[in-house]
């Protein structure tokens, strides 16, 4: 059950099928989920909602997930970033070392895998905000 100040998680994927899946998985979660298909929509969402965690697909209609994270304004530096990749290319280390993403997950991800990752990041955001 969500409260009014539930944390907000943004899912970005160019596949409506995948967004529908995430919507179904997390319709009864402790966080609010938002969904969008493009980088452009995602940048607008970031302006409009207090998003704490982004899960973004690698291939998008208007660029790549790496480009999306690279293009994020500095004011969103505290937002946790997870890249969802369906590709066998190994760019994980490079992206993490560059500080572009916190984690790369291979698609398809189960609800269980995603829940663990999301809950972990939201807990770290919460404890960081308690300390500051």
């Amino acid at each position: 059950m969500q409260s009014n100040n539930a944390p907000v998680v943004l899912f970005i994927d160019d596949e409506q099928f995948l967004l529908n899946a995430y919507q179904r998985m997390f319709r009864q979660s402790d966080w609010q989920s938002l969904f969008c298909l493009t980088m452009k929509e995602a940048y607008a969402m970031l302006e409009l909602h207090p998003i704490q965690l982004i899960l973004c697909d690698y291939y998008l209609q208007d660029g790549t997930g790496a480009e999306f994270f690279r293009g994020l304004d500095h004011k969103y530096h505290a937002v946790k970033r997870v890249l969802l990749s369906g590709s066998s290319e190994d760019f994980t280390d490079e992206l993490i070392k560059a500080g572009l993403v916190d984690q790369v997950l291979s698609k398809p991800c189960s609800k269980q895998q995603l829940s663990l990752v999301i809950e972990g990041y939201l807990a770290s955001v919460k404890s960081a905000s308690c300390l500051s």
Partner: protein
């Protein structure tokens, strides 16, 4: 005869394991499985039609994107043979290994037709079960 080494394990993989849907979504509701298969059918069919058109024009970057998307969608519904074939086909397209890709495309068409038939069988069986219940 060269059958293309990457495609050999295909026949060992199931066409459709709907239990994968429950594992991925974390619930075993029958309605979820049928809804997901229906969505998969509609979206994947659209991609396959696009791939078919693009194959004739040689727009391989676009084909690669569609195959990449199909791969994930197929894995989400437990269409293991299709997912594996898409993985191999995507790699061939990305590396422009057109000899192997030309060999894979007819296999892709067959595996898609078989996968679609399995999906339809599940959807139809559900429809019959629902009308029996009424």
């Amino acid at each position: 005869m060269n059958k293309g080494p990457a495609l050999r394990p295909l026949s060992n993989r199931p066409l459709l394991t709907v239990e994968a849907i429950s594992l991925i979504y974390g619930e075993s509701d029958a309605g979820l499985i049928i809804d997901t298969l229906k969505q998969f059918r509609a979206e994947a069919l659209g991609y396959v039609i696009q791939i078919d058109k693009l194959w004739r024009t040689g727009a391989f970057d676009d084909i690669t994107r569609y195959v990449h998307s199909l791969k994930t969608m197929a894995a989400m519904v437990g269409a293991e043979r299709m997912a594996r074939l898409c993985q191999v086909f995507e790699r061939q397209l990305k590396t422009r290994d057109m000899v192997e890709a030309q060999r894979s495309y007819p296999v892709f068409e067959v595996v898609w037709a078989e996968t679609l038939a399995e999906v339809d069988k599940c959807i139809l069986a559900d429809g019959e079960a629902s009308s029996d219940a009424e």
